[in-house]
C-alpha cells in the first residue's frame, strides 16, 4: 500500500484527493496546509487519516511514500526540497517551480536521492492526448513535427479564480515572476516541449494587457501572449495564450512531413489531417466526408469511454498519477522526463525575461525573485 500525502488544501487538492482515491493500493495518510482549517475541511470530506498545519510533522508522523504539492507556486521549491530530503517521492503541481534553476536543483536532488519527481502536466495524459501520442509514435506525422501550434484560452469571467486574482492586489499570483501567465501557461507549453529535441530553443515572446483588463484599470497582469519557438532551423512552434479570444480553446496542432493532427482538448477530439491531396473536385468532397466520419468516430469513442466509466473530467490527472506511482513501485521510466520539465521551465524563463524587458510591471515582479530563491535555498 503506497502512503500518499497532500500538501496544500486549496481547490486543486480536491481533484488530487478524488483521483488518488480512485487508484488501487494507495491511501491518503495525511494532508497539510499552513491554515489548519483548510487542512481540516479536506480531511472531513475525504477518507484521510490525519491533518496537519506543519509540514515537518506531516512527514514525521504520517511517513508518506509520496507527497503531492498543491500549494501556490512560490512555495513549490522549498516544500519539494524538504519532502525529497525526507525520502519522499514528489508530485509537484504546475507550474513546477518559479524558474529553471529551481527545477534543476530539485531534479538533481531527486536523482542523487534515488527518488522520483514529476510535474502536474496532467493535460498531456487525457484520452485524446494519449491517442495523439500513439499515432505520432506509429509515424503518422512522418519525420516528427515540422511545426506546432498550441492555443491556450483563459476565461477571465471564471469567478472561482480570475475574480479572486483581479479583486485582490495582494493575491499570490501577482507575486510570481510571470504573474497570471506563469500560473497558467505551462500546460500549453508542455504540449510543445514534448516534441522538441534541443534543451534551449529560441523563444520570441510578445505580451500585452487586454483591452478588457485595461477597462477595469488593471495594468499589472498581462493576459495576452504570443510566442514563437524555434529549434535548430528544423522545428518551429507558435504558442498563443489569450483571455479575449473566443472560443476560448485549448488545442494543439501538429504538422509533420507526411500528415498533420489536431488535438482539441476541450471536446476530446482528435482529427487527422491528410498530407496528400485528392485530384480535382474530389479534394472538395472527400475531405469534408472524411472529417464528418472522424467527428462521428470521436463521438463514438467519447460515448464508449463514458459508458465504460472512464471519462472523468480529471482522467488525465488520474492517468499521470497512476503512471507516476507505477514508476515508483516498479522502478519504471517516469511519465514526464526531467528533460521535458526543464525545457518547459527554461522556455518560461526566457519568455518572462523578454516580457520583463518590455513591461515595467514584470521587471518589478522579477526583482523579488532572487529573494524567494535565496529563501528557498538557505532555509
Amino acid at each position: 500500500m503506497l502512503k500518499v500525502a497532500i500538501v496544500g488544501c486549496g481547490k486543486i487538492a480536491d481533484a488530487h484527493a478524488s483521483q488518488i482515491l480512485r487508484i488501487s493500493d494507495c491511501e491518503i495518510v495525511g494532508v497539510c496546509d499552513c491554515e489548519p482549517l483548510m487542512a481540516k475541511q479536506l480531511k472531513e470530506r475525504f477518507p484521510i487519516k490525519q491533518y496537519f498545519s506543519d509540514l515537518n510533522r506531516l512527514l514525521a508522523e504520517s511517513q508518506p511514500d509520496v507527497v503531492h504539492i498543491t500549494t501556490p507556486a512560490e512555495s513549490h521549491f522549498q516544500i519539494a526540497r524538504t519532502c525529497l530530503e525526507s525520502g519522499c517521492h514528489v508530485y509537484v503541481e504546475k507550474p513546477f517551480t518559479l524558474n529553471a534553476e529551481e527545477a534543476r536543483v530539485l531534479i538533481d536532488l531527486a536523482e542523487r536521492s534515488r527518488l522520483k519527481l514529476t510535474a502536474g502536466h496532467s493535460d498531456q495524459f487525457t484520452h485524446v492526448a494519449r491517442r495523439m501520442r500513439a499515432l505520432v509514435a506509429k509515424g503518422y506525422l512522418g519525420d516528427g513535427p515540422v511545426h506546432m501550434e498550441s492555443h491556450y484560452g483563459y476565461d477571465l469571467g471564471d469567478p472561482s479564480y480570475a475574480r479572486a486574482l483581479l479583486g485582490d492586489r495582494h493575491h499570490w499570483v501577482r507575486r510570481l515572476p510571470g504573474k497570471l501567465l506563469q500560473n497558467v501557461i505551462s500546460h500549453g507549453l508542455a504540449r510543445i516541449a514534448e516534441f522538441l529535441t534541443s534543451d534551449s530553443p529560441e523563444v520570441i515572446a510578445h505580451g500585452f494587457v487586454s483591452p478588457l483588463l485595461k477597462s477595469i484599470n488593471e495594468h499589472d497582469v498581462l493576459d495576452e501572449l504570443r510566442v514563437i519557438i524555434c529549434e535548430d532551423q528544423r522545428t518551429t512552434a507558435y504558442f498563443t495564450f489569450s483571455s479575449s479570444m473566443r472560443p476560448s480553446i485549448h488545442e494543439l496542432r501538429l504538422y509533420g512531413t507526411k500528415n498533420g493532427l489536431i488535438v482539441d482538448h476541450d471536446h476530446d477530439i482528435l482529427l487527422r489531417l491528410r498530407g496528400s491531396k485528392f485530384k480535382s473536385y474530389a479534394d472538395k468532397f472527400i475531405p469534408p466526408l472524411s472529417f464528418a466520419t472522424q467527428h462521428l468516430k470521436n463521438l463514438g469513442a467519447n460515448v464508449k469511454l463514458f459508458l465504460s466509466n472512464d471519462f472523468h473530467m480529471d482522467s488525465g490527472m488520474k492517468y499521470l498519477i497512476e503512471c507516476f506511482y507505477r514508476s515508483i513501485r516498479q522502478n519504471m521510466p517516469l511519465p514526464i522526463s526531467y528533460r521535458e520539465i526543464l525545457l518547459v521551465s527554461t522556455m518560461m524563463d526566457k519568455l518572462f525575461k523578454q516580457l520583463a524587458d518590455t513591461h515595467v510591471q514584470y521587471r518589478n515582479a522579477r526583482d523579488v525573485l532572487p529573494e524567494i530563491v535565496t529563501a528557498g535555498v538557505s532555509s
Partner: protein, 355 residues
C-alpha cells in the same frame, strides 16, 4: 436617536458598528437601515472595488453628522480584521463567498475569514454582539413535520449535498458557536431564506433550474421562503440591537409567501414569457436519487450535483415560520410580499429590456 418601540437596545447611537460585506446586496441595506435609525459611528468593510465608494456614499448622504467610514480590505488578512474590529460594539458579519463553486474556495472565503474576524473580536474587549448572517439552506429539512423552524436540525453531512455554499455556511455557524462556548462571544445567527429585491434578477433554484436547456419547474405548489432585502436588512439590524437574544438563531422570511407556481406565473406575466416544464415532486425525487446513485457508482464521473439531500433542502414540500423573529425581535416586514414582488418584477423587466 436609535429607537425601537418594543425592546431595549444594547448600544447607543455613537457606539461603533462594523458591517462586513457592506457594499453587498443585503449589506448596503443594513447600512442604510442603521443610518435611518440614527446610528452615527459605522465602519463599512468591503473588498477593494471601484464601486464601494459609490454604493456607500448614497447611504451616507442621508445622514448628517455621521462618522461613516469605508475600510477596504480582505478578511483573509488578520491585520485587516484587527483594524476593522478595534473598539467595535456590534459586528454585522455579512461578507461571504456567494459564487464559489468549489468547496475549498467557499470554505476559505466564508469560514477562514470568519475565524480571522472572531480572533480579532476576542482580542478586543469592546464587542457586545456578533451577528452572523447565515442561510436557510443549512437545514437538512428531513424532519417528520413539514414545518421548518429554528428547532429543526442542521445538515450534518453538508459535504454530500454537493453545495459548496451550504457546506461553508454550516461550518461558519459551527465556528461562531464554538467561539461562543470557548470565549463567551455573544452572537446571534440569522438564517434568511431567498433574499430578493430590485437590482437582482433570475429565478431561485427552489423554483426551478435551466441546467439542461429548458426551464424545469421543480417547486410546484411548494411555498418559497422569500424575504425582501429591506425586510431581511431590518431583521439583521434588530438582531444586532435588541437586548436579551444572545446565542439565539432566527429564520428570516416574509409573510404571505407565494407558491413556486404562483411566482413563476407572475414572473412570466410581468418580466418575460418562456416555456417551462413541470416536474412532479415524485419524479424529481426519483431523478435526484438516480443521479446520486450513478455519481457514487461512477466515482464522480458525474458530480453529485443532484442528490437526496439537495432535494429535501430545496424541493421538499415545506411550511415556514417567522414567529420567533416576530416575538423575540419585534420584527415586522417593512415591505409586503405583493409590493416587493412587483418592485422585483419591474426591476427584472428593466434589466431584460437593457440586455
Amino acid at each position: 436617536m436609535p429607537a425601537d418601540s418594543q425592546h431595549n437596545l444594547i448600544i447607543g447611537p455613537d457606539d461603533r458598528i462594523l458591517v462586513t460585506g457592506a457594499t453587498g446586496f443585503i449589506g448596503s441595506r443594513v447600512v442604510e437601515n442603521l443610518l435611518t435609525r440614527g446610528f452615527r459611528n459605522i465602519l463599512c468593510f468591503a473588498r477593494p472595488s471601484g464601486k464601494n465608494e459609490r454604493v456607500l456614499s448614497a447611504s451616507a448622504a442621508k445622514s448628517l453628522a455621521t462618522r461613516f467610514e469605508l475600510l477596504e480590505g480582505n478578511l483573509l488578512s488578520r491585520q485587516d480584521c484587527e483594524n476593522a474590529c478595534s473598539n467595535v460594539s456590534v459586528i454585522f458579519h455579512l461578507a461571504a463567498s456567494m459564487t464559489a463553486k468549489s468547496f475549498p474556495d467557499a470554505f476559505m472565503n466564508s469560514v477562514v475569514t470568519t475565524r480571522n474576524l472572531l480572533d480579532a473580536c476576542v482580542r478586543d474587549a469592546h464587542l457586545l454582539r456578533f451577528v452572523l448572517v447565515s442561510s436557510l439552506s443549512v437545514y437538512s429539512n428531513r424532519q417528520k413535520s413539514r414545518l421548518l423552524d429554528e428547532s429543526c436540525p442542521v445538515d450534518e453531512h453538508a459535504e454530500l449535498r454537493g453545495e459548496a455554499y451550504c457546506f461553508a455556511k454550516i461550518k461558519q455557524e459551527q465556528i461562531v458557536t464554538e467561539y461562543g462556548k470557548r470565549f463567551g462571544l455573544r452572537y446571534v445567527i440569522l438564517r434568511p431564506g431567498t433574499v430578493y429585491g430590485a437590482g437582482q434578477d433570475g429565478i431561485t433554484g427552489r423554483i426551478g433550474i435551466r441546467t439542461f436547456g429548458p426551464f424545469l419547474h421543480l417547486g410546484g405548489s411548494n411555498t418559497i421562503p422569500f424575504t425582501h432585502v429591506d425586510n431581511c436588512a431590518e431583521a439583521v439590524v434588530l438582531a444586532g440591537l435588541v437586548e436579551g437574544i444572545d446565542f439565539e438563531v432566527f429564520n428570516v422570511m416574509d409573510d404571505n409567501l407565494p407558491s413556486s407556481r404562483q411566482f413563476l406565473r407572475q414572473y412570466k406575466q410581468n418580466v418575460s414569457s418562456f416555456r417551462s416544464i413541470y416536474i412532479p415532486r415524485i419524479l424529481s425525487r426519483l431523478l435526484c436519487y438516480l443521479w446520486e446513485t450513478y455519481s457514487h457508482w461512477s466515482e464522480g464521473q458525474l458530480p453529485p450535483a443532484f442528490n437526496g439531500g439537495q432535494w429535501c433542502a430545496n424541493w421538499r414540500k415545506t411550511r415556514y415560520s417567522n414567529e420567533r423573529l416576530k416575538t423575540r425581535l419585534g420584527w415586522r416586514p417593512r415591505v409586503s410580499t405583493s409590493d416587493g414582488l412587483q418592485r422585483y418584477f419591474d426591476s427584472c423587466k428593466q434589466r431584460v429590456g437593457h440586455a
